[in-house]
């Protein structure tokens, strides 16, 4: 198999994407952070470093909780998507 990007991989998943955002970041804190552990912890590549700031998109989130655990600055407001929304595994 040829190597696929995370984005391509996520395209195979079934999601019911909510309009409501379930994870948000405190950009003011992220701006001062040097580690950016979230970039490596997120298996769905939801965090991106562009120039000097972190952006987050919740749509591909696999609801694993890694980002909340690794962020030692408490910059991530992490909740689960509303019931019935988010990732819907067909295999698991």
């Amino acid at each position: 198999m040829s190597s696929a990007s995370i984005e391509d991989k996520l395209a195979n998943n079934k999601y019911d994407i909510d309009k409501e955002v379930h994870v948000s970041i405190r950009e003011d804190i992220c701006k001062k952070c040097d580690e950016h552990y979230c970039l490596y912890a997120c298996p769905a590549d939801c965090f991106k470093l562009t120039e000097d700031h972190i952006t987050f998109s919740y749509e591909g989130c696999l609801e694993c909780g890694s980002c909340k655990i690794v962020c030692d600055k408490d910059a991530i407001d992490w909740t689960l998507p509303r019931a019935g929304f988010g990732i819907c595994y067909q295999y698991g």
Binding site: A41, P43, I69, Y91, G92
Partner: protein, 429 residues
């Protein structure tokens, strides 16, 4: 008046379904709340499951449960960049009922498991999230879900590793990256005849294959391939803290692994159908939260009941056994009409009598030992290098194996380190 349940179980995974099933069977009014659209929608695991606890609940379960294949062979490989050294174990008994293990996909399996609880009389509410606990002074008195208050005599949190309810009950501290492994997995479809040909399987036989080596770049963890009926579960397990320190994502390690020549050949022509991720609490006894309080119990991954010994990573059996123990504690409490902390204190006692707390105690030093990076880089390299020297015929005069070993060890690992690690193995495993 609103219905008051004897018990509300939060989460329809193996722990929750077991607990709900056992409670309903004993005649308790039981509600199981599941946030996914169906039981299993939010759940993933590697994919190999070993059966004794489920066998006790449902003898001959493999005849009705959506099992992919029975695990007939175990293979273990050490990988370097371009070499591999493998060991395999199989025995006739693994191919006969009640079998030893199975490959299983959660979306179907959990759905089946929940239906068993439903048949026993539990009410399953899917697409419903337990947002908070209901309190009566210091006693848990139910949950808040979907904007409603649902009262119950007892709440059993089986809501997984990120257990929001255990946090809300104030029973555990913050999870630490060092205590957590991240699992990422791909389900790769391969035509059945091709899969059976590649893995040398016939009928319903399956293989559980685990790997450690250079693809994790020294990060504690490993990879796996489990054969399903017409697909492979291929994944990586890696310590979360080490991923952050080394600034590498688990998906990169998975790609490293998939590109290994021995692995790539197995996956060739496959079609990725799902990419999933999940956290595993792997520090064992050291990270178990307070297991109960007034009107409240914790079971399964929410209680960090996972056994990691390096060769095995076992959670489902612990989930099922702890779900059974929690149900037993609640049934006793119901008989006494007392759901206080004191009345529920038989729960840890029941866990101590079963393998759950016994195994976690026996292997309490394992997680620290498994942080030793030599296991993931130097030893696989040493073993492959030695095998290479033994099997390569270069037409030059041969050396004794002991000499070759000493040569392979050079610049990799010292005798004193091997000795120290052996002592650690004796202590930890």
């Amino acid at each position: 008046m609103k219905q008051r349940f004897d018990a509300i179980v939060v989460g329809a995974g193996p722990a929750g379904c077991t607990c709900g099933y056992s409670l309903a069977k004993a005649g308790l009014e039981t509600l199981i709340v599941e946030r996914g659209k169906f039981a299993g929608a939010k759940n993933m695991w590697g994919g190999a499951f070993y059966g004794p606890t489920l066998f006790q609940l449902f003898p001959r379960f493999w005849e009705e449960a959506p099992i992919e294949r029975y695990i007939h062979r175990h293979r273990f490989s050490l990988l370097t960049q371009d070499s591999s050294l493998s060991a395999e174990f199989t025995t006739k008994k693994f191919g006969e009922p009640p079998y030893n293990g199975f490959s299983v996909l959660r979306a179907k399996f959990d759905h089946w498991f929940a239906s068993k609880a439903e048949q026993a009389g539990a009410i399953i509410a899917t697409g419903l999230q337990a947002e908070d606990l209901l309190w009566d002074r210091n006693t848990v008195a139910g949950i808040k879900a979907g904007g409603d208050e649902l009262p119950a005599s007892v709440v059993i949190a089986c809501d997984g590793v990120n257990s929001d309810l255990t946090d809300k009950a104030g029973l555990r501290g913050k999870l630490l990256p060092r205590d957590i492994k991240q699992g990422v997995k791909e389900v790769i479809q391969i035509p059945r005849h091709l899969l059976e040909q590649r893995f040398n399987l016939s009928g319903e036989e399956g293989i559980a294959w685990e790997f450690i080596g250079s693809f994790t770049r020294g990060i504690p963890g490993g990879a796996f391939i489990y054969t399903n009926k017409e697909s492979l579960s291929v994944g990586i397990v890696a310590q979360l803290s080490a991923l952050c320190e080394k600034k590498i994502g688990a998906n990169d390690l998975l790609e490293n692994f998939k590109q290994h020549p021995s692995v790539a050949a197995l996956l060739a022509g496959g079609n990725l159908v799902e990419y999933s991720a999940h956290l595993i609490p792997t520090s064992g006894k050291a990270m178990i939260p307070t297991l109960y309080s007034d009107g409240f119990l914790v079971a399964g991954d929410a209680a960090s009941f996972v056994l990691a010994t390096g060769l095995t990573l076992e959670g489902a059996n612990f989930a099922i056994a702890s779900g059974t123990a929690a149900a037993e504690a609640v049934i006793r409490a119901k008989q006494k009409r007392d759901f206080s902390r004191k009345s529920l204190s038989c729960y840890p006692e029941l866990l101590k009598q079963s393998f759950v707390l016994k195994d976690l105690k026996t292997f309490k030093k394992a997680s620290l030992f498994l942080e030793n990076s030599r296991i993931y880089s130097q030893y696989p390299e040493l073993a492959c290098d030695l095998a290479n020297k033994i099997f390569t015929n270069d037409g030059k005069p041969k050396k004794k194996i002991w000499k070759l070993l000493k040569n392979s060890m050079k610049d990799r690992v010292a005798f004193s380190e091997i000795l120290r690690d052996l002592i650690q193995i004796k202590r930890a495993l």
